[in-house]
Point group: C2
Chain length 193, copies 2
DNA sequence: ACCTGAACACCGTTCAAGT
DNA sequence: ACCTGAACACCGTTCAAGT
């Protein structure tokens, strides 16, 4: 494990302890037993550190190694459900995970060719054989990510970290219900084409 | 216009100019020609100021005066569409409006009996006569707000402020498509009960 | 390669004192 | 009622210098 990864791991631990708003470079340095300036040998800026944290959260450490999506016998809606559920679960693994991801994934000069792009294209691949137009499929994917992100930001703001187990179960249910609403809408749209 | 309202208005102007991350009490004080400490006569904390800004953004200055929702001949889905579209439009009136609202609306000891609660209950009133159970209706409302918030946070991060007019038109279309997906799902759910 | 020491330009907030 | 002056405990970041 490189020193850079140790710093990154410490940052994620600190995030879970104090939350995104209290995650400062100075606190992180203190936790590492080091002066604040020393961090800048490993990350160009706090922003770069947060970007690396985002990659860990949404990467989950496996998708990239697994390569492109495996062919399955699952129906398209089961596959979409799996991806959406996995995205929420990934963001829930760290405190303020959704806010971290949504706020730091898109903006900046970073062209963002990463795991997020990969998830997007995976969904497109799943939807392409369904008869939906390219633009129609894009609209569906945007809708699902908007829902996943909005849902998860809200629950993390409300519930704190970690979620109590039975609260989590309740939210899992609520999430599935909303997702099914959307997927039902998609099915209707497919039939009407 | 009270001095407090002048400070609040200046804060909203500053937000549009520099964005939420650069909105500092010191910059706001400078813009008002005043020392930073002077702000604390009008707002207990920056948090209190941000809360007041949220109220302006989502209140839009009219809902409360208008009193409870007017009875209309619109169908339930047209009414829901109006509220959801209005919520997005309200957040788009200021730079980072969605992030401001979503991040500062829920947390904290603030019980949050405000315009948000009112919008939620309005939706419940709209959905009650449709035959949906109370829990079912709550699930629908949560889904719609998750979608609206997620969609708007994302577009504001991507597009900047203000959105170019034809970009806005494109996003209006995309928003309507996703919303219709959800509403179609709700219709199907109603039929199956 | 990694860190220290020390600085720089910032933050939010408090509070006595002025007008 | 509203603001100043001055302080306090923080921020992110840079950079020569050490080991």
């Amino acid at each position: 494990m490189s020193r850079r990864d140790e710093v990154l791991q410490a940052a994620l631990d600190l995030l879970d302890e104090v939350g995104l708003d209290s995650l400062t470079t100075r606190r992180l340095a203190e936790r590492l037993g080091v002066r604040p300036g020393a961090l800048y040998r490993h990350f160009d800026s706090k922003r770069a550190l947060l970007d690396a944290m985002v990659d860990v959260v949404i990467g989950g450490g496996s998708e990239v190694d697994d390569g492109p999506p495996q062919p399955t016998k699952d129906t398209w809606d089961e596959q979409i459900r799996t991806i959406a559920t996995g995205a929420r679960a990934a963001m829930l693994t760290h405190r303020d995970g959704a806010r971290l991801v949504v706020t730091h994934l898109l903006p900046g000069p970073r062209a963002e060719p990463g795991v997020a792009q990969l998830a997007w294209e995976t969904m497109l691949t799943i939807l392409r054989p369904t008869g939906l137009s390219e633009a129609g499929a894009a609209g569906v994917i945007d809708t699902i990510f908007a829902y996943v992100n909005g849902f998860t930001i809200e629950e993390q703001a409300r519930d704190g970290f970690p979620q109590p187990a039975e609260r989590r179960a309740l939210r899992d249910q609520g999430f599935a219900i909303g997702l099914d609403l959307i997927l039902t809408g998609v099915r209707a749209k497919m039939k009407s084409v």
